[in-house]
Amino acid sequence: MALLIKELTLICVLTLLGASFSIFSGLTQPPWSASELEAGEIHQVDAEVINPIWVDARPEVDYETAHIEGALSLNDSNWDSQIFDLMGAWLESPQPIVVYCSSASCDTSKQIAERLRMDLPDAEIYSLHGGWQP
């Protein structure tokens, strides 16, 4: 019995070491930080489940380099030309809208989400917690 407990302990320790490697190597964010959501934010894992309309709030040059598949580019500089594309997409299929920028520290997605809430008051709009990196 003691031997089995020893084996089980060894497996648990190795599993925890592996999980620590995932966190410290940047493969995943720590699960305890995943719960710190501000109002109007959503985790990527939850966003992918609701199959939203993605809005890329980063500069257009970053959007051209890489973006989430199907995402529309919308930021302060291209607002007037792009907002109608987004409105059209939302009217055609009124799904939730998730706005993302490049990292947890960028604030653009929150600002764009806030601005969108004024233009599309009936839409369900979130900003992506932690941002998106290609």
């Binding site: 089995l4 084996e7 089980l8 060894l10 497996i11 190795l14 599993t15 925890l16 592996g18 999980a19 995932s22 966190i23 493969l27 995943t28 964010q29 699960p31 305890w32 995943a34 719960s35 985790h43 990527q44 894992v45 939850d46 992918e48 489940v49």
Partner: protein, 151 residues
Amino acid sequence: MKIHAFIPLATLIARLSIAGTFISAALPKIKAPTEFAVSIEGFELIHSPLVHWVALLLPWLELIIGIGLIVPMIRKVSGALIAGLLILFIGLHASAWQRGLDISCGCFGTEAEPTTNYSLLILRNLLLLAATCFVLFRDLKANRATSKIAI
């Protein structure tokens, strides 16, 4: 030649097949935990933040016990944990099937197929479970024989 002569070879093949399955299932999920978390959420049984813990720990556990099944020092407990996980997976898939969920299995990380063929999945896990029980039985029998010799 008696059938008993083939049992060690069958045990080795079963052991390597189960270990290979668990290791190959774990690696893509370790590399892409977010995608795995999405698959877990699809089962609609647990939600954030628990889903992030499961997506972080389960692939590593699968990898360790997959390797553990071929390491003599920890193979008995690894076998028991693999059997336990397979029973859990069978239950989860049966539950999702019964609720009519149209989801991706997530068994091997990001998968091309959008939906799961539940009957095939449950059959595969039942076969793996049978093979695991066989390997576990052989390990316990070998362990008892070693203990008797030691006495």
